[in-house]
Amino acid sequence: MDLNMNLDGPHSMGTTIIGVTFNGGVVLGADSRTSTGMYVANRASDKITQLTDNVYVCRSGSAADSQIVSDYVRYFLHQHTIQLGQPATVKVAANLIRLLSYNNKNMLETGLIVGGWDKYEGGKIYGIPLGGTLVEQPFAIGGSGSSYLYGFFDQAWKEGMTKDEAEQLVVKAVSLAIARDGASGGVVRTVIINSEGVTRNFYPGDKLPLWHEELEPQNSLLDILNATSPEPMNI
């Protein structure tokens, strides 16, 4: 019997998170697996969290730390929006995340990708890794699954994609990471933000493309056995 099954470990979102800019907005994407040790505590989590009407954040790392940081920033942004009299900019949201991440760097373990649209700068993506560095990027990847995507993005990323191209890229990338990262899995969620508003999409595990060595899912072995022929298989 295996003795080291840490079923009471801290909830961590192993995760794959992605943010990509396109002509007129941003697409945010993430998987949906939250694990405690090796157990999948939630197979359908929502890691793309709303900060304001026009700014969302992808969360990775410790589930608790990322939730509390996004809760605080949502609260601050709400007050900021009232005082400012107009929607907050993506840059302000990203900097608030940065302040919390940087000033509590010894206690927090969370990597975040902030993405949104505002009327001054259009679509923007900001990466805020562990330690609280703020980096504005045309696209950002994060979480344990992102290790498998650096080569993919080096090859597949292009400036000036359309909304649909950008979303397809994100879904393909998260799906590739899920295939290889044990800490990522479940469904692919995307959030598209542009001048017109916000669209949430949901790509369940069985609708994702199949990659190398993956097979078409079946209802049961019995269907396969009955379909081929009544004779028994050989080793």
Partner: protein
């Protein structure tokens, strides 16, 4: 004045030189194996994943192998140690066949041999990092047993390794009964494997189901299971509590 370090004989397991020989931790691992007794024999299921830490590195690893005429061995844990065990068993079966006396090692004997191997390695602090499931039928008698890397061994009507113990065995305790048909057994194993696929991080969606009866061993072709995500709660889980999961 200095004290000379005491000299160990070359093959001693004490001292720093011996550490390179001990298995400290596994590298390429397989996850759960689940097995049950049914009307005609034993059914066993295992996925084909070989994980390298948290990376799902190999997806076509066969973790169940026939042993002799009467047994089937499934393994989880370090794959290289499983391959070594298969080499030991090859030798065991070879010697058994060389007697040419019409007798052959049955599952009970193979299980006992494996138990001795695993326990003796554990006593030398150099375990074979596996949890094994050994099933078979001989002379109409069904046998299903398990051995862990520290030598814990027992038989039962249904067994599992790793996560299977926590997720599959409760299902089997509820739904297993004597004289399951082949179809019911397969469906029950698939139910267990699907839960493992949802909830075990190291599970991979490509599995094989093996059956062993008096006639012999059959291991199915690799196939994948359908998974279900079409629940309204999954579409928008944070609706009532923005910022949660």
């Amino acid at each position: 004045m200095n004290f000379m370090a005491s000299k160990q004989p070359e093959n001693s397991l004490l001292g720093p030189e011996a550490d390179s020989q001990r298995t400290l931790y596994p590298y390429v691992t397989g996850t759960s194996v689940v097995a049950l007794k049914y009307k005609d024999g034993i059914l066993m299921a295992a996925d084909m994943g070989g994980s390298y830490g948290s990376t799902l590195r190999y997806k076509s690893v066969e973790r169940m192998k026939p042993i002799g005429k009467h047994s089937l061995l499934g393994a989880s844990g370090e794959i290289s140690d499983f391959q070594e065990i298969l080499r030991y068993l090859d030798e065991l079966i070879l010697y058994d066949n060389m007697w040419d006396d019409g007798n052959s090692l049955g599952p009970k004997e193979v299980h006992n041999y494996l138990t001795r191997v695993m326990y003796n390695r554990r006593n030398k602090f150099n375990p074979l990092w596996n949890s094994l499931v050994l099933g078979g039928v001989k002379n109409g008698q069904k046998y299903l047993g398990t051995v862990s890397m520290i030598g814990v061994n027992f038989e039962d009507n249904h067994v599992a390794t790793g996560f299977g113990n926590h997720l599959a065995r409760p299902i089997l305790r509820e739904e297993w009964h004597q004289n399951l048909s082949f179809e019911d057994g397969v469906r029950l194993l698939e139910k267990c494997m699907r839960v493992l696929l949802y909830r075990d991080r190291s599970a991979v969606n490509k599995l094989q189901i093996a059956k062993i009866t008096e006639e012999g061993v059959t291991i199915s072709q690799p196939y994948s299971l359908k998974t279900y995500w079409d629940f309204s709660a999954f579409a928008n889980p944070a609706q009532g509590a923005v910022g949660s999961w």
